[in-house]
């Protein structure tokens, strides 16, 4: 008995060694437990899709320490721009984040005078015009300049009836679309982002959040029908939370809102008309059930502070409370959860901004004053490959990558769905049923079962028809004989 158990351990440890030796980057050496969600919304262990490679400070860039940086952006030439808020400057760094290329702290106005920044909180570089858009927060302006530091345009507080003049104009984040329209997130405006035409004219607000219909708001709505105007004026108004961050991807603008009390519209995908495409889909971003922090005695409610769209369409949402990046594919299926709240590499204190370039994620921490670079693991790259194929409709081509994903992580639910869809397309209905069951997907199972049933009936139609006829005949004969027997018995009774 003892010997056999020792043999077993030997074999098992050998297997473990072999398993550990093959893939280079699949084992989780992160300073946190990597997890994902299953169909029931319960956290289950998972493989890491990204692993923290290194963290870069201002000193590493040769630009001196940063002070509370709040935004990072990578332009089309793979140059990084970091809004170093506390030092009133913009740092431009090379694509590997090794050296600072240029430090922008002074700009030259069109009339030749010099101007400096005051707490810049947002930076954007447009591909079409090669201009920098800087949200110059404390100067109450958006500075548009070329890459040599010559100011092209200054966007200031709009003089418009739509813009309440009592409110300040403190730009938080800024982006520009292909046409050159400028969108500015302001931290005291809840009616959406301020939108400016390419020549700096205020054109209105864009993409306001909705108010979450809580019980209190609904009851207030009903009460308001009967309230007098004077009373209504004295009531606290219910306003939606403002937009916190955004990113532009082609024709769509993605916004996120950092609110610990509101769960509607935390992440939106807006089209050119400002309509939210995610509005009618029942989507949840961030942790399903907020984690309870024992040491601080509070719930860690997700607060998504920044959003970034990868080149392949993945949506990266940065949650400040938990220090996690939630990566979704373009259909909003959760792919990976990366990061944590920690002092080690891969953990954050106050995560402020996220940026993705190729297969890397860059996260800016405004308390640690560093940029952490996450590299895609082997597992991550294969999931991305399979997801991209799957979302483009190449189910069969995605089959092998999905099998590979399952080999690395048998808990990955999307892979089961992918395999089931591929097998269904291939005509292996029995296999599709098996994998749909493993994926906990009744819808897929239904499709596979319907096809399987159709095929089964077609193949065995002869036998089924013959069986039915024989059974019906036998039943008829039996019934007839029984009837005759009872009739005979009745007759006998009468004769007696």
């Amino acid at each position: 008995m003892k010997r056999s158990s020792r043999l077993l351990t030997l074999v098992l440890s050998g297997l473990l060694l072999a398993a550990g030796a093959v893939p280079a980057h699949t084992s989780a050496d992160e300073p946190y437990e990597v997890y994902n969600y299953d169909m029931w919304g319960e956290a289950i262990p998972s493989q890491a899709g990204y692993t923290a490679g290194k963290s870069v400070s201002g000193r590493d860039l040769g630009a001196g320490p940063m002070d509370g940086p709040s935004d990072i952006f990578c332009d089309h030439e793979k140059t990084f721009y970091i809004a170093d808020t506390g030092n009133d400057r913009i740092i431009a760094a090379d694509s590997g984040l090794e050296n600072a290329v240029r430090i922008y702290d002074k700009f030259i106005m069109p009339d030749g005078s010099e101007t400096t920044l005051n707490s810049p909180t947002g930076i954007f570089v447009s591909e079409e015009r090669d201009w920098m858009y800087i949200a110059d927060n404390q100067n109450s302006r958006v500075l548009v300049s070329d890459k040599d530091g010559n100011v092209v345009m200054e966007v200031k507080k709009p003089v418009s009836e739509v813009y309440d003049q009592k409110r300040t104009f403190l730009p938080q984040k800024v982006i520009a679309d292909k046409a050159g329209n400028i969108y500015v997130v302001l931290n005291n405006i809840t009616t959406g982002a301020a939108m400016f035409s390419p020549d700096g004219e205020f054109t209105g607000f864009y993409g306001a959040n909705r108010v979450q219909p809580t019980a209190e708001i609904i009851s207030n709505y009903i009460k308001n029908i009967f309230r007098s105007d004077e009373k209504k004026a004295g009531m606290a108004r219910s306003v939606p939370s403002g937009i916190t961050g955004f990113d532009i991807d082609g024709d769509f603008i993605f916004t996120c809102s950092q609110s610990s009390t509101q769960t509607t519209d935390t992440v939106k995908k807006l089209n050119a008309a400002g309509k939210n495409i995610f509005a009618d889909l029942e989507l949840a971003f961030g942790d399903y059930r907020p984690m309870y922090d024992v040491s601080n005695n509070k719930l860690m409610q997700s607060a998504i502070v920044d959003i970034d769209i990868s080149d392949d369409g993945s949506i990266n949402c940065l949650d400040r409370t938990t220090g996690r990046i939630f990566q979704y594919d373009e259909e909003c299926n959760l792919l990976f959860i990366v990061g944590t709240k920690a002092r080690q590499l891969g953990g954050f204190d106050t995560a402020a901004a996220v940026e993705s370039v190729d297969d890397k994620l860059y996260v800016l921490d405004s308390a640690k004053d560093t940029v952490t670079i996450f590299e895609e693991t082997a597992f991550g790259s294969i999931v991305h490959e399979a997801t991209a194929l799957y979302n483009d409709g190449y189910y069969e081509e995605a089959l092998d990558p999905w099998y590979e994903v399952l080999r690395m992580d048998g808990n990955y639910r999307r892979a089961y769905i992918g395999v089931a869809s591929a097998l269904l397309r291939k005509g292996d209905y029995k296999g599709a049923m098996k994998y749909a069951k493993l994926a906990d997907s009744p819808k897929l199972y239904d499709k596979a079962f319907e096809a399987y049933r159709r095929e089964f009936l077609r193949r065995h139609f002869g036998k089924i028809a013959a069986g039915t006829v024989i059974l019906a005949g036998a039943a008829a004969v039996l019934r007839y004989r029984k009837k005759r027997r009872t009739a005979a018995a009745d007759k006998e009774e009468k004769e007696e």
Partner: protein, 209 residues
């Protein structure tokens, strides 16, 4: 006339909703053993309906399995119904004994149980577009059982129609009260148990020091 075996009586009662139970009463038939077997089948059927249903109609939560809800749905509810009905109808000049109430009520559950098993079988043949068949069978099963229960209460106590409705409403109220008291009692027992336990721990600590 009507010399049926106990098993044939079940069929007769179920297939003759109006006079079946009257006949049974007249012949003083019905077996407690069969009644308990039927309730046991109800228990099995409830589990099957939840656990063995076709996956195309939804996947049950299978990380944990607790038998208690199924016990409550079958034995406890049935027991509450029998005791409640007996308690109410004794006050309302009902003629039924506890034994007869138990037998008649159990017999009237048969269509519902048959529906459970038939639907579990059907759910492995149908796809989700054809869910209407399952719903119709369920509706028939439940409706039939309700009619049979009504008829059972009426004939076991020899009531008029109006009085039966009244008795059934009172029975349901009695069931609710009983279940409420049961929950109350259980939480009380729990509290007492915790109290005894903490006293014991306290004393045991004192002795150790």
């Amino acid at each position: 006339m009507m010399d049926l075996t106990q098993r044939q009586w079940v069929r007769h009662a179920v297939t003759h909703p109006i006079e079946g139970f009257e006949d049974m009463r007249w012949k003083k038939s019905g077996s407690v053993r069969i009644a308990f077997f039927i309730v046991f089948l109800l228990f099995i059927g409830e589990i099957f309906d939840e656990r063995l249903f076709g996956f195309q109609f939804g996947i049950p939560y299978d990380k944990t399995f607790s038998i208690v809800p199924y016990l409550v749905k079958s034995f406890v509810l049935f027991g509450a119904w029998v005791v409640g009905n007996w308690a109410v109808c004794t006050l309302l000049d009902g003629e039924g004994t506890m034994k007869n109430i138990c037998i008649y009520s159990a017999y009237s559950l048969v269509p519902y149980i048959v529906q459970l098993f038939v639907n579990v079988l059907l759910s492995h043949v149908l796809v989700s577009d054809e869910v209407v068949f399952i719903n119709v069978i369920r509706l028939i099963g439940v409706g039939w059982t309700v009619i049979l229960l009504f008829s059972a209460v009426r004939s076991v106590h020899q009531y008029s129609g109006g009085k039966t409705v009244f008795a059934v409403i009172l029975t349901i109220a009695a069931m609710l009260i009983m279940l409420f008291l049961l929950v109350l009692f259980m939480s009380l027992v729990q509290q007492i148990w915790i109290f005894i336990l903490s006293v014991y721990t306290e004393i045991s600590y004192r002795f150790r020091v």
